[in-house]
């Protein structure tokens, strides 16, 4: 475990020393505050549109952070050849991969925490309430989403040589699953035939990332989700994340480095 945590700590340090997260946080705050300055219908208490925009920006930012942090890990280490002195140490490739994942996930979780604190302060100043349990649920599910995306991206990074192609494919896939994932089964039923069967296989086999998106819960101040549903979502994310990481480790073991 110390090997994995050592690799993870380097990933986190790298993210802290890069400017990406600060820029995204600054842009999110700037856009949200600029929109907050607009007084629609002369009613300063209208806050839902502001919460919606702010959460959308947080989701886009988190997706960018998760995908790009994970996508560059292995290819950039290979390109800059820092992988050579690292793998010349008593560390297995699986430990390197798991350390990279843990680092990416913790880095995403830490940056998400900053985003959610900003959101909570903004929401409280407008609505005067702190539904902490709802925020915690939304934050945890969002962290699981980032973990799933990071594991999928790491798997892609040992398959595709270019960071850009991997990132583009993952972003397109995640975007498609968030928007269309829940409709795949309905479309499959209507389509029928082989195409319908294939869509149905996709519906049951692909990870349903939309299950981790509970923005409506906090935008509309709905009652919090049952904790057993959160626990099932957690298991679901761990199962899929575990499969992606196992495949990534298997592929990375066979990855020729010369």
């Amino acid at each position: 475990m110390s090997h994995i945590s050592a690799v993870a700590s380097v990933v986190i340090l790298e993210m802290i020393r890069r400017k990406d997260v600060y820029v995204l946080l600054f842009l999110t705050a700037l856009i949200t505050l600029a929109l907050g300055a607009v007084n629609f219908f002369g009613d300063p208490k209208i806050a839902r549109y502001l919460k919606e925009v702010c959460l959308a920006l947080i989701w886009v930012s988190s997706l960018v952070i998760a995908v790009f942090t994970a996508a560059r890990q292995i290819p950039s280490e290979k390109e800059s050849r820092t992988l050579f002195p690292l793998l010349a140490k008593p560390i297995s490739r699986a430990q390197v991969m798991l350390g990279k994942f843990l680092g990416c996930w913790l880095a995403c979780a830490a940056s998400l925490a900053a985003f959610y604190v900003f959101f909570a302060i903004l929401s409280a100043t407008r609505e005067g309430q702190w539904p902490v349990a709802n925020y915690v649920q939304a934050y945890w599910l969002h962290c699981l989403f980032c973990g799933l995306v990071a594991s999928l991206t790491l798997l892609g990074s040992v398959w595709f040589t270019a960071v850009s192609s991997n990132a583009t494919i993952i972003l397109a896939f995640v975007g498609a699953m968030l928007v269309l994932g829940r409709h795949l089964h309905k479309v499959a039923m209507k389509t029928g035939g082989l195409a319908g069967n294939l869509l149905d296989v996709g519906y049951y086999a692909l990870p349903h990332l939309e299950w981790f998106d509970v923005r409506d819960l906090i935008i509309h101040n709905w009652p919090r989700i049952d904790w057993d549903v959160i626990a099932k979502d957690t298991l679901y994310a761990f199962a899929y994340g575990g499969c992606f990481l196992a495949l990534a480790c298997w592929r990375f073991r066979r990855y020729a480095i010369h």
Partner: protein
């Protein structure tokens, strides 16, 4: 003079040395051994023809306490051998072991220090952070870690610069970081890949001194180099590789024919290079000097 086709292998240690008898009777086990190593690379394009043989039947052993030079012109297979020994590239056939463990087992690298040819380190870390990271990977206990890092920093004379990001270092300072990370675990075997490549004369002298100091401490050093003068100064034995095959192996003196006064002359003869007959050898003298 035509190409030398047979491999000239002279045993080590020589009969006059103390542990020669141990070696001869098989009581001294090699620290590093390669048995019939073969590495083939598949062509990257479909037009590329058959697989390229980078290493063909390499067999060698390195014994405790010796400084072993690994020589060959560009493309001879030195880097491929290093890659196999460090577990970066799996051999197509054959076996390599370090401290008796297969090189694909990460634990075989526990007592190794590796200095790559160029400085490949995380530029956003400070030297101190980099050494701490590698010390953690070696499993050095936290109580000893900071002391070991301080010692390594003092050894390479980085001083206060150790707290600055590596990206701000000169090439020489980066090479010192490389040496510090290679020694952080107090290794019994050092694998150095062209350690003086690209260094100025002072840097080269420092590396040479380091190798001699390690030799005095009883460490085993395995290093590849183009610098034949340097090899002659510090090595107990050398292996000469050419076109993926081992052409000679043994103490430097034993590889020299009567009339030869330097390792360079022996080296050129062994790889079949003659300055006046360019067709005798497919390599140019420039590639030897690089």
């Amino acid at each position: 003079m035509g190409l030398v086709v047979s491999c000239r292998v002279v045993p080590w240690p020589r009969a006059s040395t103390g542990f020669a008898f141990g070696h001869m009777s098989g009581t001294i086990k090699p620290i590093l051994s390669a048995e019939n190593l073969r590495v083939e690379y598949r062509p990257t394009s479909r037009k590329g023809g058959g697989p390229k043989v980078a290493l063909n039947g390499l067999t060698l052993a390195v014994y405790p306490g010796e400084v072993f030079g690994f020589l060959g012109p560009n493309g001879a297979g030195k880097t491929t051998t290093m890659n196999v020994l460090l577990g970066f590239t799996p051999p197509t056939s054959g076996r390599a072991t370090i401290f008796g463990s297969d090189v694909r087992d990460p634990s075989s690298r526990q007592r190794i220090g590796y200095l790559p040819e160029l400085t490949y380190y995380y530029k956003f870390l400070t030297a101190f952070e980099l050494l701490r990271f590698y010390a953690k990977i070696f499993g050095i206990p936290a109580a000893q870690r900071e002391q070991r890092i301080e010692e390594a920093i003092q050894l390479v004379e980085l001083g206060a610069a150790a707290r600055r990001p590596i990206r701000t270092y000169s090439k020489g300072m980066q090479q010192r970081v490389g040496i510090a990370q290679a020694l952080i675990n107090n290794p019994d075997l050092l694998i150095l890949d062209e350690p003086t490549s690209g260094l100025d004369p002072i840097g080269r002298m420092e590396v040479r001194r380091l190798i001699q100091r390690l030799k005095k401490e009883g460490k085993t050093v395995f290093f590849s180099s183009h610098e034949l003068g340097e090899v002659e100064t510090v090595c107990d034995r050398v292996a000469i590789l050419f076109q993926g095959e081992l052409k000679a192996l043994g103490p430097i003196a034993s590889l020299m024919s009567p009339g030869e006064t330097s390792l360079e002359q022996a080296f050129l003869r062994i790889i079949g290079f003659t300055p006046n007959e360019e067709s005798a050898c497919p390599i140019s003298p420039l590639s030897l000097a690089s």
